[in-house]
Amino acid sequence: MKKMVSLEIDGKEVKVEEGKTILEAAKEAGIEIPTLCYHEGLKPYGACRICSVEIERKGRTRIVTSCCYPVEEGLKVKTNSEKVKKIRRTIIEMLLPISPTGPIMSLAKEYGVEKSRFSGERTYCILCGLCVRYCAEIKKENAITFVGRGADRKVAVVPEKADVCAMCRECYELCPSGKIIDIIGY
């Protein structure tokens, strides 16, 4: 039997197995934290930062991504503090012009973001990497990958793997924006 760890999430005492993340612990306690790049079947990635929460540890508070941060004994977590809400709103503002699609729109509604001050190009892809990671971790094919760095980062099919890719299409249903259909192209 695994060791149990108790922590406090939004004032609620939560006991979970050691090694779980804050996100998993919150889920068990019925507390919802928004996610975009997280998928329970894949390794934590920590890219979208929307699941950021505020933790208090040894008297010091900081922002961490709940999908990656492992639970610790005595940890105090606030999943919806003013600071957290502000960070999420800015992240939503960043993503909204890029991908005004279902998941982002509903987050915008939930967090009261009516208009974005950002001017990102509408590419639809939010670079959550679900497709890339599914292909690497589950299918073990690495047929799609990230290319470019920084502002030029995008998802592309590895040309040598295009045949394998065309046969699969399993990542289609993971894509939050539906852009993957354009990227793969069939």
Binding site: R49, S52, R117, S119, G150, A151, D152, R153
Partner: protein, 638 residues
């Protein structure tokens, strides 16, 4: 084939042999072969020197040594003649005959090659007395300039590998860690994490094998501290690494060298080979039970790979991208094994601490930050170069005492410490001591040791824009706040510099900076906001001028300046008129010139060529109308 060293006694014997052999030579001429000096022609001068020494039949009496960067790069190529420690600056091949015939043969000083104090006119021949060196405290760089980095014998002669012998034969691994902890050595890569604690974490972490890593992915613009150490004294880094490996219980190590540092990679590779031949690396080091091997890993040209988790991912053969480090790399690093990564300078501190003790190390510097730090002092300062100073020295002392103040008598405006994501520190904070915690308090950071001095001709909005654009280029693009935040910051800052800024931009900048600094995945994104925030905090009036008055007081932002010819000063020499690439200047030999603002592309050529100071740069004020008709020139009063 060299003889393997099988005990500390063997090492001492070898050391004595090397020293005895070198005593035959009267003079040692050290020629700086740092990258800067080579670029200035040191290699050509070196050839001339070798020929000249032979011509005078001095072979065997004079040893010519190719040494690593001695730091006073501004004045290269540099020659230092020992034992007198005579330092010759800006040496050209044609100076070589004088150096040989006067100094090496007659023992006289060649006055014209000696440092001249710009204020007093005094000639200072001795290296240690030149103000640039006098106020430094050289520990790590002490042997740059004295030893040939490509010779392990040179390193052994100055006491090299003595610390390793002490560590292996007189200390337990735990004792070494205690010593490092007691020394209060903090990570020289920038974050200042206590080195001893990091070592202990890796030592105690479950999992085998454990790895030790040297981070030489120095990517900050204008920074070359790590490079100078790796190129100039690679064995000191290697010795520190071996001691660390022994203390941590690692049997495999990596030296990560960025692709842009071919000489550093070459010199450390050679150092590894030499150490292996002598039995100072490899199986049963120095006859002990400890075995350790080191591999050099070349980077692939990504700035972000200097971040520890990205660097480790790169060593694994993947794209160098950071990953969340809530479980430290010291516990789960390369291939998820405990991996202890330290900066070049941190490793190089280790042999010194082992030999001279933690107490000695702690006696240098401040309570919170002990030891020395190497900075590359660059920008608008008189003496640029590598500067090693005790922690706690003020920025003012570095810039004005060692750096000799601002170039061209201009006024100081700001200094950026800590690389592209360091903050700009204004004049009123120049008495801030250089210390990990103090620099953080004023909104900047120690970083790896970059120090860029800016004068009154620097626009602080433009400077922030420059570093944002640099970091945008270098961000890996994995996490949203860093990628999208930098993209937007770049857009806004470029707009402001173009005179298209809006008042509400400031609020958006602040919101982006808050989210980036709190929620970015790695330190690149979290610290990228420092130049922007400190520029806003300390130079707010410049931002307001750009946005409201469309004025750039430093006259840097092209869109906000105009060139104009003062009719009272113009001598109608037609020089600017002829040089103007777009024919925007009107006038002739009899009449003063004027610039057609519609045609002018603001290239600044007229401003540079005018010998009478008649071409003016103006910003935020109305351009005086061109003279009515053609105004005849008013001859200068003789």
């Amino acid at each position: 084939m060299v003889k393997r060293i099988n005990s500390p006694e063997d090492l001492e014997k070898l050391r004595n042999e090397i020293i005895a052999k070198s005593k035959a030579e009267k003079h040692v001429v050290s020629v700086c072969m740092g990258t800067g000096c080579i670029a200035l022609g040191a290699d050509v001068m070196m050839d001339a020197l070798e020929k000249e020494v032979e011509k005078h039949g001095l072979k065997g009496k004079v040893e010519i040594k190719k040494v690593g960067c001695v730091g006073f790069c501004e004045q290269g190529p540099i020659i230092i003649i020992y034992p007198e420690e005579i330092c010759y600056l800006k040496v050209k091949p044609e100076d070589v005959p004088d150096i040989v015939s006067k100094t090496l043969v007659e023992g006289k000083i060649v006055e014209r090659l000696v440092y001249t104090d710009p204020n007093t006119g005094e000639k200072i021949p001795k290296l240690g007395e030149i103000p640039f060196y006098k106020h430094q405290h050289r520990l790590l760089l002490a042997n740059n300039g004295r030893i040939d980095p490509r010779s392990i014998e040179d390193y052994i002669a100055v006491g090299g590998y003595k610390a390793l012998a002490k560590a292996l034969f007189e200390m337990k691994p735990e004792e070494i860690i205690e010593e490092i902890k007691a020394s209060n050595l903090r990570g020289r890569g920038g974050a200042g994490f206590p080195t001893g604690i990091k070592w202990e974490t890796t030592r105690n972490a479950p999992g085998e094998p454990k790895y030790v890593i040297v981070n030489c992915d120095e990517g900050d613009p204008g920074a070359f501290m790590d490079r100078a150490l790796m190129e100039g004294n690679p064995h000191s880094v290697l010795e520190g690494l071996i001691i660390g490996a022994y203390a941590i219980g690692a049997h495999e190590g990596f030296v990560y060298v960025r692709e842009e540092y071919p000489m550093a990679a070459e010199n450390i590779s050679l150092a590894i080979k030499q150490a292996e031949e002598y039995g100072l690396l490899g199986e049963n080091i120095m006859g002990s039970n400890f075995s350790f091997k080191v591999t050099v890993h070349r980077g692939a040209g990504a700035f972000v790979s200097g971040e520890s988790s990205a660097l480790m991912t790169a060593i694994e053969g993947k794209v160098g991208e950071p990953r969340p480090k809530y479980i430290h790399t010291a516990v789960q690093g390369i291939w998820n094994k405990p991996s202890c990564l330290n900066n070049v300078k941190t490793w190089a501190c280790v042999p010194l601490i082992i030999l001279r003790g933690a107490e000695w190390f702690r006696s240098i510097g401040t309570k919170g930050s002990s030891g020395t730090m190497i900075f590359s002092l660059v920008g608008k300062v008189n003496n640029t170069g590598l500067v090693e100073v005790p922690m706690g020295i003020t920025l003012r002392d570095i810039i004005f005492k060692i750096g000799g103040g601002i170039r061209g008598g201009k006024k100081f405006k700001a200094v950026q410490t800590g690389g592209p994501s360091g903050g700009f520190i204004p004049e009123e904070l120049l008495d801030t001591p250089v210390d990990f915690d103090e620099l953080r308090k004023v909104g900047s950071m120690m970083g790896s040791g970059g120090m860029v001095v800016m004068d009154e001709d620097t626009c602080m909005v433009d400077a922030a824009r420059y570093f944002v654009d640099f970091l945008l280029e270098e961000s890996c693009g994995k996490c949203v706040p860093c990628r999208e935040g930098l993209k937007e910051l770049s857009r806004i800052l470029n707009n402001i510099c173009r005179g298209e800024g809006k008042e509400e931009d400031i609020q958006l900048i602040e919101d982006i900076c808050e989210t980036m600094s709190e929620a970015s995945l790695c330190a690149l994104g979290r610290t990228a906001v420092n130049p922007v925030l400190t520029s806003l905090k300390y130079f707010r009036e410049e931002w307001d001028e750009h946005i409201k008055d469309k004025k750039c007081r430093a006259k840097v932002c092209k869109a906000l300046i105009n060139y104009y010819i003062d009719p009272e000063l113009c001598q109608a020499c037609t020089l600017c008129l002829r040089e103007c690439p777009v024919g925007a200047i009107h006038g002739d030999k009899e009449h003063v010139h004027w610039i057609d603002q519609d045609k002018c592309i603001k290239c600044g050529t007229c401003y540079e060529v005018c010998r009478f100071g008649a071409v003016k740069k103006i910003s935020g004020e109305p351009i005086p109308p061109p003279p009515k008709g053609m105004k005849p020139i008013r001859k200068r009063r003789e």
